[in-house]
Amino acid sequence: MDFQERVKACVGDDLVSMTEFRGDVSVTVPRTRIVQVLTRLKEAEGLKFDFLSDLFGVDNSALGKGKKKGKKEDEEAPAAPKPPRYEVVYLLLSIEYNHRLMVKVQVEEGQMEVPTVTSIWKAANWPEREVFDMFGIRFKGHPNMKRLLMWDGFPAHPLRKDYPLEGEGEERRLVYGDA
């Protein structure tokens, strides 16, 4: 079995879609099943994805807008059913076999919660916090779901596509007596 077949077999019924681009294979799985899928991938013979290389979010709400810049007509085209706005991507690596896999879950705007994978890899700790910080996606069961990079009390989630690059004038001041 080649690599893709094996991944397909391992993910089984949870597979939503599978794509390959320039040699990078990525699979999409349902949001609620992520822990089970990753556990299976970690233990499967011949795959052994035992190393979490990275975890991050993507905001897909502006996808395709860059291309059509300036062309008004296109916007009126009947909208296809909108795909979920956010994506959380897990980059897996197998130390033994030296292959990589992208696993994605899609997150709808109304249900911003994904089960945490910190129980499988401790390495997911900060990246999950960062995803929360940057996109506002919460991870259920995470031991310490706080902002990571921005200060507590920062009002927005900066990597969302509708947040301007230069910010909205947030400031942090020195207040004596504050910790």
């Binding site: 200060w151 301007p164 690059l165 947030e170």
Partner: protein, 167 residues
């Protein structure tokens, strides 16, 4: 009262002032506050090869209480602002600030939501060193410029500076 009745200073005081200025300008102890890439160049300026100690910046003083010059090398993010302000507040007078690098001067290439666009929004700056990063020579030149500035100070008669400006 006393000498303040004159506009200007007498011979003794101005000589004393020169002495103080000489002392101050010859030993500006820096507080190296390197936050980013510029910090590495600042380290190079303090290390062998450039050796900023030749100009009196002999002892990098890591405590703000014993420092004269705050060398702010690197980006200051908005999260860091209270820290920077507090460090500046803790320094004893007289104190000076060198802003090293484009980031410290103006935010540099990082015109983003999380970067402070120039530290002069938070603390007063005496010498700006442009560059991304400035070469160690740049920092040394800034230190020399600062020495010149210190020499023109009026530590005993601070009003004089104001008066001079008014004329």
């Amino acid at each position: 009262m006393g000498f303040q009745a004159y506009v200007g200073q007498g011979w003794v005081l101005s000589k004393l002032e020169q002495l103080i200025n000489w002392g101050r300008s010859r030993s500006p102890w820096p507080l190296p506050y390197g936050t980013a890439c510029c910090g590495i160049e600042m380290m190079a300026a303090l290390a062998s090869g450039y050796d900023m100690a030749r100009f009196g910046a002999e002892r990098p003083s890591f405590s703000p209480r014993q420092a004269d010059v705050l060398i702010e090398a690197g980006t200051i993010t908005k999260k860091m602002v209270p820290v920077l302000r507090r460090i500046y507040d803790q320094m004893a007078e007289p104190k000076w600030v060198i802003a090293m690098g484009a980031c410290a001067c103006s935010g540099g290439v990082f015109r983003t939501y999380s970067t402070l666009q120039g530290i002069d929004q938070v603390i007063p700056v005496d010498v700006y060193v442009p560059g991304c990063p400035p070469r160690p020579e740049g920092l040394i030149y800034a230190l020399l410029q600062l020495m010149e500035k210190i020499k023109q100070d009026h530590p005993l008669y601070p009003q004089l500076a104001e008066l001079k400006k008014g004329v």
